[in-house]
Amino acid sequence: MSGSALGKITHGAPWESADALPHAGESGAPRVDHLVVLGLVPAGARVLDIGCGDGSLLALLRDRRGIDGRGIELSREGVNACLARGLSVIQGDADTDLANYPDDAFDVVVLSQTIQATRNPRIVLEHLLRIGRQVIISFPNFGHWRVRSELALRGRMPITEIMPDAWWETPNIHHCTIRDFVGLCRLIGARIEHATALNARGRPMRFSMPWWVWNLFGTQGVFLLRRDGAEGGR
């Protein structure tokens, strides 16, 4: 990639207002990365959240955006927490269950911090683009300077806040950098409508930065994708 893919990105992304929002982890407050997603999801949309955990994002989207939400979650504890919130969540697996959803079943499909843990990220991403008119996807950036320095200077697999597990127990089997991900998007014909990186505090980085800055200083990449050839306007 020569920077052109990110260079095409529309400026003035909707999550810029997230700067005024509270920190992640504050009691009762929504996570900042959830607020970033909130800024991207239109009111009343049909949303599928894959790897939805305890359903906090779906509940946030339902309460603030009036969405019709569905979820997929691997753990029974997560599914039970979702049930108690009144969410329609099925116990399942992104690698095996997405094939069963019809085309264009959702306005927005969200895959948060999960693609690097799937067995086949390319097939998963292709399913996301097939099932949803838009795809919001976030992942830890393996190109972050701390990751690079761990490898380059200490010669060790990095352990960071967003990648807390040792190499022999991590569920993350397909790490990628922001630049790698852009490469996959081009390979499978996914149009990048918006993209940003979140800094170490989980906040969106300033938009005018060139791609290599994101790839170096972003801890997470957040992308809004659409299948190439799919209708652009809502």
């Binding site: 569905r70 599914v79 039970n80 927490a81 049930l83 108690a84 399942g92 959803y101």
Partner: protein, 401 residues
């Protein structure tokens, strides 16, 4: 445990007359309220028969609210009955779903009006093959029309109308009860607010039909079955029905559960007797299951209800596409399966979930970790209870209950 040979399944001769009396009385004169439908309100059956008159025996718990919005229908399984939270009139056992239903339980009888009816074709007070055919004055026997899951649901709908219930807050059931739940959602979608099909499938598999056929042949091979006219002949196909139950009971359990409970342990000793006595605990247990079942169930009813399950194929009823059964539904679903259930394995529940997804229906799905096999849905499974409580409470909030 015995000194005499103990090789064949043998009903206790002393209990035989009382047993016969008690079962007959439950089929014809049950210890339950009964809704009677006369010639003006026949049951339109899939077999093309208009059944009239007929009756439905049922039990209720809780109170219907003024808005009539808090009704729950519990659908019982193959050999279940309406005594979901009441002492069984024949066995004296507690209600079969008291783990799930009662004051403060996930199905809270302080909040909901709960109804459970004996399915049409059964033998606990609803019209079935043991009932008297008004045309002949004799028991129907095999002259009773073949029953389908849809017939059961139609009869339940008539009962609910009789009780003044227009629509259900919740329809819930396991196994054959789960088939009824799916059929309710497909047949009367606007009358089911929330549905919980548990340990069930969208159709009966070839393997399950095969097991049922073995059971039916065991009954029919018993000379006492008398071509289905045993009630008039004064005989009882107790051995055939007992063997049918023994075979079926294995399918309700799992290998790990059997091993945990019985292993290869000997009954009343530590060595084989070199005979066909019930040496192993598992043999003794199965014989007990077979014999105690015979006390409370009618052999012909067993033939009819197993057949009803065999015929169930919801996709086939909707052009071969299961999703069509739920097209446009507003009902919210919660599907539950159990990891060790090999009679209705998780993939059957997933087929339901996928169809509901394809129909854009709101659906939740939980696979409960359990080694107790198919019968787990009747047992103390905290993971099932917490899922049920979460789903039902949220549905109640959505309905303003």
């Amino acid at each position: 445990m015995d000194t005499q040979p103990d090789t064949a399944l043998r009903p206790d001769p002393i209990d035989e007359p009382t047993r016969r009396a008690s079962e007959r009385s439950q089929a014809l004169d049950p210890k339950s309220p009964v809704a009677r439908f006369g010639a003006d309100r026949p049951l339109l059956m899939d077999a093309g028969v208009e059944l009239a008159p007929f009756q439905i025996a049922y039990q209720t718990a809780g109170t219907l609210n003024a808005a009539r919005s808090n009704a729950v229908l519990i659908c019982h399984a193959l050999t279940g009955d309406q005594y979901f939270a009441q002492t069984h009139p024949v066995t004296g056992k507690a209600g079969w779903w008291e783990t799930l239903v009662g004051p403060g339980k996930p199905i809270d009888t302080d909040r909901y009006f709960v109804v459970c009816s004996n399915v049409i074709g059964s033998c606990m007070g609803s019209t079935g093959p043991a009932s008297i055919d008004p045309a002949t004055g004799r028991p129907y026997g095999l002259n009773f029309p073949l029953v389908t899951i849809r017939d059961m649901v139609r009869a339940q709908a008539m009962l609910l109308e009789h009780l003044g219930v227009q629509d259900l807050f919740l329809c819930i059931g396991g196994s054959m009860g789960g088939m009824q739940v799916l059929q309710w959602a497909a047949l009367y979608p606007e009358r089911v607010f929330a549905a919980m099909p548990i340990a069930t499938g969208p159709r009966h598999s070839a393997q399950n039909i095969a097991f049922h056929e073995v059971g039916r042949q065991a009954i029919m091979a018993d000379p006492a079955w008398a071509d289905g006219r045993y009630l008039e002949a004064g005989t009882r196909p107790a051995k055939g029905l007992g063997v049918a139950r023994m075979g079926a009971h294995i399918t309700y359990l799992s290998e790990p559960a059997l091993h945990r409970k019985f292993g290869r342990r000997f009954q009343g000793g530590s060595a084989p007797t070199f005979s066909f006595n019930a040496d192993f605990q598992i043999e003794s247990y199965l014989r007990h299951q077979g014999l105690s079942f015979v006390e409370r169930f009618d052999a012909n009813a067993y033939l009819y209800l197993t057949r009803a399950m065999d015929y169930f194929d919801l996709a086939e009823d909707h052009g071969g596409v299961l999703a069509n059964a739920f097209r446009g539904t507003k009902t919210r679903f919660c599907v539950i399966s159990f990891t060790s259930d090999w009679l209705f394995p998780t993939r059957e529940s997933r087929a339901i979930v996928h169809a509901l997804n394809a129909a854009a229906a709101p659906v939740a799905f939980v696979e409960v970790e359990s080694d107790k096999g198919h019968d787990a849905f009747l047992l103390d499974e905290p993971a099932m209870f917490s899922a049920a409580r979460g789903f039902i409470d949220a549905a109640a909030r959505a309905r303003g209950l």
